[in-house]
Symmetry: C2
Subunit: 244 residues, 2 copies
Amino acid sequence: MTVTERKERQRAEREQLFLDKAAELIATDGILQLQMAPLAKACDYATGTLYQHFSSKEDLLVALVGRNSCHQLRFFQGISALPISSREKMLAICVAENINQQHNPSHAGLEQYVFTEVVWQNASAARRQTILANSKPLADLVSGIVQQAIDNKELPAHNCDAFALSVAPWALCVGSNTLEQTEGLLEAFGGNKDPLQRYRHLHMLLNGMQWQPLIDLNDRALLAEQIQRLETLLKPWFSSCNAD
Amino acid sequence: MTVTERKERQRAEREQLFLDKAAELIATDGILQLQMAPLAKACDYATGTLYQHFSSKEDLLVALVGRNSCHQLRFFQGISALPISSREKMLAICVAENINQQHNPSHAGLEQYVFTEVVWQNASAARRQTILANSKPLADLVSGIVQQAIDNKELPAHNCDAFALSVAPWALCVGSNTLEQTEGLLEAFGGNKDPLQRYRHLHMLLNGMQWQPLIDLNDRALLAEQIQRLETLLKPWFSSCNAD
DNA sequence: TCAATTTTTGAATTGGATTCATAATCACCC
DNA sequence: GGGTGATTATGAATCCAATTCAAAAATTGA
């Protein structure tokens, strides 16, 4: 059925167009300002057409986050293959997320918003299913790094499976994002302006997991150098992942 | 001005009524279903009256979270005074948050929602200011526990101030909540049904911070016993804090 | 008791998401 | 090439709930 295939492809292309434009509008005006009718108009389609792709505005937002996680997957796969220690890979994942957020500042806020009950429940079940399925390889990849560390005896299993262990750094990253994202929060409590702080905290956690090699938490220069090195390593690769 | 005072008091009482009823409606029907007009009606006031207290629906939601953090403060102050080690106090804070969430399941979701850009920016600046000011003593209290640990040489300062250190467990708790909150997320990746997992992760972090006494992460029975003990200790105190 | 002032009221307005009857396009067949 | 039924796109109309605001009610002070 070559006709059906073509239609399907065109449909998929249009969906990408909608998502591209939505991302663009969000980047310039903020999530708050995103409206369905103007978005459709900006893509030269009618409002109704937009609704043939997304069952609701929330559904579109979830789709947007889902697409980003596909990009992240390729990016993260590259990290997994890097010739660095398993512990550094885990750190690199975190650095990668940060690069991604610097490249697209509204994304962090969008992600936080999308996993909110209000938005999540208003997206279609199919869309939720899709984003979970898309994210699975990502979670597996991180679990894989943990498993590798366990197999290499760099990390004791602590009676947990690799996924359960991988949740700890994941939660820490998510939490750090949330706190930094909320405007005025950290400032109101005690001026946290150090962008390396989250990495210091992550290292604390990794040390606590006994993930070898342990690092000296007092050595700020070492941490700065390490993050600098990872960023330099990752940024070109990030650009190449986003070039298509 | 006794007249002005009385008016002010009545106004404050009405505000509490609105908040109580809103919490009740959210608890039964979910955040999604909360509507301003029915809420006002349920309190036997006109819609417009509601808007004399809250500049928008988002403003009301932020107020709701703010009020809860006042309750938490008294609860946490009790913890701070408990005759247990500083490390256990930090753990107890986390347990306390969980008790609070079990007692009021919609609260975790609400909190996540409220600190979202979309909601946060739609609340009035005054309200944001209030919640930050209300939360400050809470943050100070936690920082105080950290400081106490440093002073007692139970915790090395790692070149950071107490607040910066306290952000690490805070972020981990926030992140754990977010992940658990998102329906289907952890289930889709690898069945995490262990309610103690978050505490195990916290202990990993605290071990990594070198917060004495270090605990054996493999000893599940010990962890279960410790959490059990803290819950038993905290629950009566929680009830007495919510009894007024 | 009355007039000025403050507060409350809830119907009307508004903004924007979503729908759906109609029009256009397409795929297929003669 | 044109006719036909099926599929898809359109955007004005609908709907829903947040928000406003002119009028009514209550309060205050004289």
